[in-house]
């Protein structure tokens, strides 16, 4: 038998807030320097990742091969910059490696890759791949009576992919209560608002109808996120969906709730302004 997963060190809200600030600042710098897209997607998921990496996940960054760690799959992998920042801040790799992001000859692609990047569980980038793979992991843990858990962070636009709904059916049928998805519901997808593209509402009802337990939270409220993620499974025998209502671009007032910052990288002047705002938050 392998060792029981280590309980994570409880973090205070202030510590989580500080971590989220770091993750936002890393993402802004990385994306500005590399001139890539998706800065707003990183900002919206920052608080969710801070709570997961800083408080919830049972990880051992010194032993990335440890097979009893919790698994986090970042399926909304266009937000790769913050995903790399999170595993670096968690201690899986040196912070200075973030400079490799989208840089010629480096290993940190613009959509997260597991190759040469400890702590990144799965390479994604094409939406709708993470949940099926996470479901296979959860099934294996369940059948093997293992204590490790699987978390899949998804985007709202990603819910358009049919492959997710195949996995959503499967996970409920197989009673995978060790599987949790967190949907970063920032209401904006690639070209327009979700409600004007392919409406997801009533999203909670959809998950309930598929046999999942659902909880809606404010995805920027640490106490809300902690409370939901600490009380898993919500009910024995059912997979868990946490619908986190977020604001795209959260933390930089002039990036908030705009499609533009799904694409545009901040220039030097904008970066300085954005960092000042994040630091002051």
């Amino acid at each position: 038998m392998s060792a029981a997963p280590a309980a994570p060190r409880p973090a205070t809200d202030d510590e989580l807030r500080a971590l989220a600030r770091k993750l936002r600042a890393h993402s802004l710098r990385m994306i500005s320097q590399a001139k890539t897209s998706h800065v707003a997607s990183c900002l919206s998921v920052a608080d969710i990742l801070a709570v997961l990496y800083g408080h919830i996940l049972r990880l051992d960054p010194r032993h990335p091969e440890w097979s009893d760690q919790d698994r986090l799959i970042m399926s909304k992998d266009h937000a790769a910059a913050i995903s790399y920042a999170a595993v670096a801040e968690a201690g899986f790799m040196p912070i200075k490696r973030l400079g490799e992001y989208a840089r010629n000859g480096g290993q940190l692609y613009g959509h997260a890759t597991h190759f040469g990047v400890p702590g990144v569980e799965m390479s994604s980038g094409s939406l709708g791949h993470g949940l099926p793979v996470g479901t296979g992991m959860a099934l294996t843990a369940k059948r093997g009576r293992k204590g490790w858990r699987v978390f899949v962070v998804m985007s709202d636009g990603e819910c358009d992919e049919g492959s997710n709904w195949e996995a959503i059916l499967f996970a409920a049928h197989h009673r995978l209560d060790n599987l949790t998805i967190v949907i970063d519901y920032n209401k904006i997808q690639s070209l327009d608002r979700v409600e004007r593209t392919l409406g997801l509402e009533p999203l909670t009802d959809k998950f309930r109808a598929f046999g999942w337990n659902v909880r809606e939270v404010d995805g920027h409220e640490f106490s809300d996120l902690r409370d939901a993620l600490e009380r898993l499974p919500m009910e024995a025998g059912k997979p868990n969906a946490i619908i986190a209502h977020t604001v795209k671009g959260k933390g930089v007032s002039w990036m908030e709730d705009k499609v533009l910052w799904h694409y545009r990288p901040p220039n030097e002047e904008e970066l300085a302004k954005a960092l000042a705002e994040v630091e002051a938050s």
């Binding site: 569980e121 791949h129 992991m137 059948r143």
Partner: protein
């Protein structure tokens, strides 16, 4: 072939609980025994091939050796991106098994005709592509892909294929099996066409020709050395496969021969015309329409003679 596969898989599962089978709600009268004996190693993903592959990858990344099982196009093309990104990019220990390779489900319709699968799977990095030639090879191939860590595509026929090998041959992935030595003509066959090639080889030998017969069960990695020897030691090379002539075994052999210095033997690819079938027919009927029955193959080889491709053929 599928019986030989599942028997081999049952044996593997009995001694190694990492060996799992994930089916896409297919395999009636094939998988029941496995499902009953090894319930913790069996999953029916339902009619949901993208999730089937994703599940298999999640299981493989958690230490399992996972076979997926479906009818050829469903288990490959429907979930092609999952196979590319999740299986191949991650080098996940997933073995994609297809039944009904070629025209085995002939009269069920074009949707069930697997005529491009080998070409498509062959193009994927890290993928091993195996199309065993008879039930004996199917059994050996099943064990061989487990012994080799990483992605594999195992293309099976269906049922009732003729046993071509008199006894179990030495079997190694990426190494052709030489079934006859000869230097007039080389027949290189994969999958169900091995039986036809074997029959044709017998007829050509009876006519006084020296025939080399290779079972090229592994299309990727291709046994380049065997192809180069065939192209330089015989006077004509013929590939035979129940798959489009574009991109499969014939394509792979052509890629090797095209880069050889001048003076090598010419190549003829015998396979399916790259088009959708427009009439109903069972496997044998449709194969004959494509010239893949023994008579058709013999006519093609005789036509090569008329064209002077190989003087003595």
């Amino acid at each position: 072939m599928r019986t030989a596969f599942i028997e081999a898989l049952n044996e593997l599962a009995a001694t190694d609980d990492r060996v799992c089978l994930v089916v896409g709600d297919l395999g009636y009268s094939v998988i029941e025994d496995f499902a009953q004996k090894y319930p913790d190693q069996f999953v029916n993903a339902g009619v949901a091939e993208q999730n089937m592959i994703g599940l298999a990858v999640g299981m493989a990344l958690s230490g399992k050796i996972v076979f997926t099982y479906s009818i050829a196009n469903f288990g490959t093309l429907r979930c092609l991106e999952q196979i590319r990104n999740d299986v191949c990019y991650h080098r996940a220990n997933v073995k994609v098994v297809a039944v009904g390779g070629g025209l085995a489900y002939g009269n069920l319709g074009v949707t069930h005709h697997a005529s491009e699968d080998v070409a498509i799977m062959r193009a994927l990095p890290n993928m091993v592509v195996v199309a065993p030639g008879d039930p004996i090879e199917a059994r050996l191939a099943t064990k061989a892909v487990v012994a080799r860590d990483g992605p594999a595509y195992l293309r099976l026929g269906k049922a009732g294929e003729r046993v071509v090998h008199a006894q179990a041959p030495g079997f190694e992935l990426g190494r052709a099996i030489t079934m006859r030595e000869g230097d007039d003509i080389a027949l290189i066959a994969s999958g169900s066409m091995l039986a036809t090639a074997d029959e044709i080889a017998g007829q050509l030998v009876a006519k006084g020709l020296s025939v080399r017969l290779l079972s090229m069960h592994t299309v990727k990695p291709l046994d380049r050395e065997a192809v180069i020897r065939a192209a330089t030691e015989t006077r004509i090379v013929v590939t035979l496969e129940e798959h489009s002539v574009e991109g499969g075994l014939g394509g792979a052999v052509a890629e090797v021969i095209a880069e050889l210095p001048p003076g090598h033997a010419p190549l003829k690819r015998i396979g399916l015309r790259p088009e959708f079938n427009s009439v109903v027919g069972d496997q044998n009927y449709l194969k004959a329409l494509h010239g893949l029955d023994a008579d058709g193959v013999m006519q093609t080889i005789q036509a090569l003679e008329m064209a002077g491709a190989a003087k003595d053929v």
